[in-house]
Symmetry: C2
Subunit: 130 residues, 2 copies
């Protein structure tokens, strides 16, 4: 039921150095060690890492992730604040997506422009794979 840092790295796709970094930055709780002072991750730690990764992938800065994860370790009294944080973060993420989609339309216009412009050149092959 305990995973080495190597195994966790394999499962999460995160380099071991990053897992150590997250721990020193207190995004993860102090991971229990084995007899040789090596990290022995529990299932629970894997789930914590998944949450951190989700927040990171949605653009939350390390500082805020630390804040949130610390609240998680402080029990039910922090539930309302955690709720406010995830609500605000959902909003922020929705706005990021909306902004990306808006910019994507500009990129699409560029694609259309270049497709037309290239079509007028002497048919450069190998561009049909789209």
């Amino acid at each position: 039921m305990a995973y080495s840092i190597r195994e966790v790295s394999r499962r999460t796709g995160l380099p071991a150095s990053t897992l150590r970094y997250y721990e020193t930055e207190r995004l993860l709780p102090p991971v229990p060690r084995d007899g040789a002072r090596r990290r022995a991750y529990a299932q629970e730690d894997l789930e914590t890492i998944a949450v951190v990764t989700c927040l990171k992938n949605t653009g939350m800065p390390i500082q805020e992730i630390r804040r949130f994860m610390q609240l998680c370790r402080q029990g039910d009294s922090t539930l309302p604040e955690r709720y406010r944080i995830v609500l605000a973060h959902r909003r922020a993420t929705q706005e990021r997506i909306a902004r990306l989609q808006k910019e994507l339309m500009h990129v699409n216009q560029k694609v259309a422009y270049y497709r037309a412009a290239c079509g007028l050149l002497d048919e450069p092959d190998g561009l049909e794979g789209e």
Copy 2:
């Protein structure tokens, strides 16, 4: 028909320091100067800045933006390469959006979890604005 750096900053929302930085990084062509060696941006430069901003907002790193903008200044012979770049960039942007949307679902699950968990507490007010 010529804009001061201050005016361009106001129109684009980018700090003057960033406009200078983009120029030294050759994301913009050398901007023409007035009699006092001050930048006098033309309409064309505003459009160039808009393109740079679009690429930046969609996550393209400075290096690649420089590459693309340099190709733009090299004439029609670079059209096929520019086409390949915008195609690849569209793909990358679509993938980024898709990944964000996937992670957003996880965030939504967190929101639902915390809404329920908070509902079981003594009704903390001021959270209904969603």
